[in-house]
Structure formats: C-alpha cells, structure tokens
C-alpha cells in the first residue's frame, strides 16, 4: 500500500465514511427499525414514567424503590388485552426525571404518553392533545372522583387522565405525644379530625417540647415542599390567596393575614415549638422517628415511609401516626389539602391519529383500570376513580385508620383546595411561564430560609417576593 493517498482516494474514503454515518443515523432514527420490521397494524407508543412502585407485580412483595417490576407487568397485561398496541417504556429514575423532562420539553422530543406534566403554559404551547373526544366516547370521566375532571381541564378541554389521588395533611405522632405530653391535641381536633388550629398547635406544642432537643413541629427548609406546603396550604389555612382571580398578579403581601401566618412560624421557632436551625428533610425525619417531633406535613404515604424506617431500625416498632386535616385559623373552614390529582397521564401531540388513539387507550387503562387500583394503595396512594376506591375498600391495607379516614372522611367531606393548590398559577399561561422562570423551587425556599434566619421580617420578605414576581409579570407591586 502506498504511504500516501491521492486526492481521489481521500475523497472516496470521506464519501464512504459519510454514507456510513448517514446510514447509521437513519437506521437509528426512532421508529426506523421497528417500522421496517414490525407489523404495520401494530402501533408503537413511547411512554416516560418515573418509578413510583415499591411493591412487585403481586402487590405483596417489597422490591424496593425504583423497581420496574410492576409497570413491566402492567404493560404486558395491557398489550395482551390490546395486541394492536406496543408500549415502549422508559422508566426514568427520579434523580434524572427533572432533567429528562426539562430537556424533552425544551427540544420538543417527547414520548406519546407522559406522567404528570400537565400545565397551562404547555397546553397553550400546543404540547398536549385534547382528549375530550376520547373521554366522551369512553365515558371514563363519570368514574372519576369529584373535582378531578375540573383539575385536568384547561381552557375548557380535558388534557390528562387523572391517575392518582394523594392528599396531604398534618401527621401527628400519637406515640410521641403520648410519651412527652400534648396528647390532648388528638382529641381536640375532633372525631372527624378537622379541628386543628394554629392556636392549638401553639398550646399543645408548648406542652410537648422541652426547648432544647424536642420540638412539636418540623418543617424541612431545604425541600420543594416549602412551595406547596408553606406558601400553599399553610397560607390557605390563614385565609390567604396567592393569586388574583385572573392570575395576573401575586397578592399574598396584600393580605395582613399573610404576615401573621409567617410571623407565627418565626415566633414558633423562637419559642422552641418548631425545630430551629433550618432543618433539612432528613433532620425532620430523624426528629420525627425518634419521637422528638410530633407534627409534620405529610401524605398518607408516610405509613410506607414509617415501615421503611422501622425496617432500617430508625423508628421504633411501636409507632402510631394520626393524620389530620391541615391547620387553619378559627374563622377559616377546614379543607382537604392536595385533593386534586397527584398524578395524571397526558398524550403529546402527534400527527398520526392511530398513535393518538393508542396512546389515549394506554393512558386511560393505566390510570383508571380497576386492576391497577391495589397497586396504588400499597405504594402509598389512592386511585382516582370511584370503582377503584371500591376495589381497595376491603384490602388489608385499608385497615389502617389513616387510610380509612382519607377515603371515608377527608376526601368526601372536607372542602377541596382549588385545582392545582393555592400556590401555583393554573389558568394563566403567561403567568405560569414567567413564574416558572423565576424558579420558585429555589426562590421560595431561599426566602423562607431568610425569614427563619431573621434576615428579613415577614413584611420585608413578602414585599421582596411581590416586587420580584409582580415585577417579572409587569403587574403593579
């Protein structure tokens, strides 16, 4: 072989290389191989899901967080019943979910069915398919729990299938209260558990704490829950709305009750009723499992977390929790926090009507089929359907008094929060987009930390937030 290549040879090699690269690119295009191989009558749909199941397909064996056992089995069951649809699952771990979804939405490279991403600005951007026709034809909406249809309706059209209900409230540690004092709060909240007030938290909190290592109430200051708990349901309990009715303006600072709401927290910290020193989520866990804290916001899934903590030896074997409604002022009626769908499935835009129909069929089946209801219950959630609620009624897990209270009392009898909660804009696409751009998940947390560090008074914090949020919206401060 000559040590030198002629120009013609180089050009030939480059051309061959280009053909190779182009060929492999085309072959690797989504759908190329499967379209080449698969039966044309079988519609393939893509599906993104984070792992929400701790239990295996039998709903009895614990396989641990992150398992794909249940969802693979569910897809197999769906495909067996729907041989014309093939589901390509991408189970994305939670620590990658945010980035995966963010880049997917930014680039427009999205699956046909996606878990829990409905928002008004995305609907306006034309990302999702309206599902009214399919929903009307199938009639599944008549099986949805009250309020859920409204929660997935944007601009008068349905854009998601509600799948999971996961309300939250105040988790009182009965064990800790009985051991250290303040157990009277368990009866003071009333039989229906609706009567928890801020005054009550102070009164019984003082009886529980010791001022040095035991504090009644714990709020994780490093976690996104600050946004929907402390700037959402906590304010709702004080009768404070976050947004004007058209969501053109953030209005928390207009209401003097908001100052009271945050001053309550500062005082509670100073009076040693709340865990001081900006505790993280893990710190609150430790306090709670060690019975050094008696109250925290939580979902009913705390029962599953308790089991994990007990297995790990972090919590005592005897540990009773009583979930109650969120705290509220005397003049504010009790309400159910987080009563909307905690998860739903949406179908993204596609030009192929067959794929659209197949995607809807899968989303509706996964979200609403009764065969999937028990899995939700054992993994710490509730089904979004009436029939699903009936299916789980006699399951052994429902012997837990907290679960029974949620299904029989909390969801049906407490006033629901407005769809989306009292913290985020849900009807105004422009506001939703701008609000997301100020990154509330860090901004609210940092402002809350400033407050609890004493860097700002509640008035200063709220005014600063109003200036930033309303300034970005171009609204009057």
């Amino acid at each position: 072989m000559s040590s030198k290549l002629s120009r013609r040879e180089v050009l030939k090699l480059m051309a061959a290389g280009s053909v190779g690269v182009a060929g492999s690119s085309i072959v690797s295009l989504p759908g190329f191989t499967r379209h080449a191989r698969a039966d044309q009558s079988v519609k393939e749909i893509t599906f993104w899901q984070p792992p929400i199941w701790r239990y295996a397909a039998d709903n009895e064996t614990v396989v641990g967080a992150g398992s794909d056992d249940w969802i693979n089995d569910a897809i197999a069951r769906f495909e067996a019943a729907n041989p014309d649809v093939k589901v390509q699952l991408e189970l994305v771990p939670w620590d990658q979910w945010g980035q995966k979804v963010a880049t997917g939405f930014a680039s427009g490279d999205l699956p046909n069915v996606i878990y829990s991403q409905l928002s008004v600005d995305r609907v306006q951007a034309g990302i999702f398919e309206p599902l009214d026709d399919y929903v009307a034809a199938s009639g599944i909406d008549s099986n949805w729990l009250p309020g859920l249809k409204e929660a997935v309706t944007v601009f008068n059209r349905i854009y998601a299938i509600p799948a999971i209900v996961n309300p939250f409230g105040m988790a009182l540690s009965k064990s800790a209260l009985e051991r250290h004092g303040g157990a009277g709060i368990l009866t003071a909240v009333g039989e229906d558990r609706s009567g928890l007030t801020f005054d009550m938290m102070r009164e019984y909190g003082a009886a529980f704490g010791d001022g040095s290592s035991r504090y009644f109430f714990g709020v994780p200051s490093d976690h996104g829950s600050i946004v929907y708990w402390m700037f959402g349901s906590w304010l709702r309990g004080w009768g404070v709305e976050s947004w004007s009715s058209d969501e053109e303006r953030w209005i928390v600072h207009d209401n003097p009750k908001a100052v009271e709401a945050f001053q309550w927290l500062v005082d509670a910290q100073n009076d040693k009723i709340m865990i001081p020193n900006l505790p993280k989520w893990s710190d609150v866990d430790n306090f709670y499992w060690n019975m050094d804290t008696a109250a925290r916001w939580q979902w009913q899934g705390i029962q599953a977390e308790l089991e994990v903590a007990q297995e790990a030896g972090q919590a005592p074997d005897e540990f009773d929790i009583v979930l109650v409604g969120p705290p509220h002022a005397e003049d504010v009626a009790p309400f159910a926090a987080g009563s909307g769908p905690a998860a739903s499935y949406s179908v993204t835009r596609t030009p192929d009507p067959d794929v659209r129909e197949a995607a809807f069929r899968f989303a509706a089946w996964l979200a609403n089929d009764d065969s999937n209801a028990v899995s939700l219950l054992v993994n710490g959630y509730f089904p979004a359907t009436i029939s699903g609620s009936q299916v789980i009624e006699n399951h052994p897990a429902m012997e837990d008094s907290n679960r029974r209270w949620i299904v029989q009392e909390y969801l049906p009898n407490f006033a629901p929060e407005k769809p989306g909660g009292n913290w985020q804009p849900v009807i105004n696409a422009r506001t939703a987009r701008i609000w997301n751009q100020i990154n509330p998940w860090d901004y609210y947390i940092q402002q809350y930390q400033s407050l609890m560090l004493g860097q700002k008074t509640p008035e200063e914090m709220l005014l600063e937030m109003a200036t930033r949020i309303n300034g970005a919206l171009g609204a009057a401060i």
Binding site: L5, L13, G108, N277, N436, N439, Q446
Partner: protein, 323 residues
C-alpha cells in the same frame, strides 16, 4: 525530567502569510501546496476524533452562543437579541452568584495547591512505601464522586448531631449550623472542596518533584542553602510548569462548581443565596425554569470570566516557564 530547552517555534509559512495583507489567492495556493505535500493518511486517522471535536465541541459551543440570543420555548426558538444579557447584567442574583463563585475559586484553588505543595514536600521525603500510602490516601476522594463526598460532608456538618459539632465542642465552640448559617455555609463548602480535592495536586506535584535533578539540590547544599531555601529557591521554581497547569485547570473547574451546592445547600441559606454559584444558577435556569436561552447566556458570561482568568494566569506564571 524537566527539559531545559526553550521552545522557539520556527517561522512557518502560515505565520508569514498571516503577517502580510490577506490575499485569497496566496491562501489558496498555500492550501494547495499543503494538501499536495501532506500525508493524506494522517487526515483519515485524525478524522474520527476531529469529527467528534467539531460536532460535540465546536458546534455545541457555537449553538450555545446562538441560543443565548434566543428564547427557546417548547421546541420553538425566537430571536431576542441581547435581552438575556441585559437581564443578567442587571440581576443582583447573578452578581451575588458570581461573587460567591469568585470567592470559592480564589480560595479553593490557591489554598488547595498551597496545602498540596506542603504535603507533597513532606510526602516526597519519605520512603517509597510511605509515599505510595499517602498518595493513595489523598487521592482516594478523587475517585469518589463529588455527590457522595457532598452527602458525607453534609452529615459531618449536620447541626443537630454532626461529627464536626461534636469535635468542636471539646474546644468550647458552640454547636453551629455550618451549612444553614449564611456566615459559614460557603466556607464549609470551600473546606470540603479543598480537603476532597488535594489528591490530584499531590500526585502531580510529587511526580514533578521526582523529576527535579538531585544534583541541583546537592549544589544548593554545597552553597549552604538550608531546607527552606532549597524548597523555596529550587523546588518551587522548578515546579512552575506543574503549578501553572494545576492553577489553570483548578480555576476552570472551580468556576464551574455545582454538585456540592446542589446537594449540600441548594444555593442557600437565605436570599440572595449565600452559596449560590453561577454553575448552580445555570443549572436552575436550564433544568428547573426551562429557560434555556438564559442558561446559555449565563454560560457564555461564565466562559468569558474563565477565559480572562486563564489568560491572566498564563501571563503571570508562564512568562519564563521552561519546557
């Protein structure tokens, strides 16, 4: 072995071409002659890596710069000119993040290298076995992911029952919320980064020390130089190329600090965040706020800050570096 040979690039045709006025015909002629005389196989062999570089570095940087002038929204791009830059340069949160980043970089890099230099000098004088032991010990954190290190250090700094508070209580210091106190949070992350990042510098410096000819030390001894003088007048000057490398690479990495902040403090405590860095801000703009254009603009600004810092370092350190 250090080569005491100064690199003097010879005059190249390209240099002479560039020196004159731009002439398209002369450039074309030069390209043709280069093409004729060169070995074409070389181009074939470098093609894979060159393609990788062109696609995944050059194109990506170009695309990022273009994105900084765009508003990207759910797959649609709108040209917004300098709007992102205008916002960033008037945003107190960005300036706070830049200040934190500068403080972090300026303390972590020189501080880390200084400590590594002292440790290397101490290690280098030991026998081979001890050298290997210490080098491995210091290098160990470098093979552990920053995320793991950050989680471990979060527990060390834990305010309620953390190890650090336990030990400082022996010397009468009150327990502190190291990561929750705005006065100590950034310092705590800096301390973690210095301790966890010593290994690479120690390995580089001890290797460089090994390449210094012993005759120079012998000569210095004969001239009456003591330990300190030999270290300061012989070792340190001859380590300058290694130090330059460690400084430049260290600063580039330090300016991009992100994982520790994400895991340990999420930019807090307080607002503006006591530990918020530009890298963290970029991450949030891109992946939390979905503001890709803004993230690109922040990245471009960070790129220029790093570039300026690197140029300054080359000017300071490289003026009489011998290769």
């Amino acid at each position: 072995m250090l080569q005491n040979v100064k690199f003097t690039p010879g005059e190249h045709k390209l240099t002479s071409l560039a020196a004159g006025r731009f002439n398209l015909k002369r450039w074309a002629a030069w390209l043709r002659s280069e093409w004729r005389r060169s070995n074409k196989w070389a181009y074939v062999f470098i093609m894979p890596l060159l393609s990788d570089f062109l696609i995944f570095t050059v194109y990506m940087v170009f695309r990022m710069v273009m994105m900084s002038f765009e508003e990207l929204y759910y797959g649609e791009a709108e040209w917004v000119g300098l709007r992102h830059y205008d916002f960033i340069l008037r945003d107190p949160q960005f300036w706070n993040a830049l200040k934190n980043t500068l403080v972090y970089a300026v303390v972590v890099v020189p501080g880390g290298i200084l400590i590594a230099l002292v440790l290397s000098e101490l290690i280098f004088r030991r026998n081979q076995f001890i050298q290997v032991f210490f080098k491995s010990a210091y290098y160990l954190p470098a093979v552990v992911s920053t995320a793991v290190l950050a989680i471990v250090w979060t527990w060390i700094y834990q305010p309620f029952n953390g190890v650090l508070n336990y030990f400082v209580s022996f010397v009468g210091i009150e327990p502190n919320n190291w990561l929750g106190n705005p006065n100590t949070a950034l310092g705590s992350i800096i301390a973690m980064s210095i301790v966890g990042g010593l290994g690479v510098s120690v390995v580089f410096l001890t290797a460089a020390m090994g390449s210094i000819p012993t005759e120079i030390y012998d000569a210095a001894k004969i001239d009456g130089a003591g330990e300190w003088t030999r270290f300061w007048r012989v070792t340190v000057p001859l380590l300058r190329p290694t130090l330059l490398y460690l400084f430049v690479v260290g600063f580039i990495g330090a300016f991009q600090v992100f994982e520790q902040v994400l895991i340990m403090t999420r930019g807090g405590p307080g607002f503006p965040g006591a530990t918020e860095t530009v890298g963290y801000l970029i991450y949030n703009s891109a992946f939390t706020s979905l503001n890709i254009g803004m993230a690109a603009a922040q990245s471009v600004i960070l790129f220029f800050v790093i570039l300026i810092f690197s140029v300054v370092q080359f000017r300071i350190f490289a003026s009489d570096v011998e290769y």
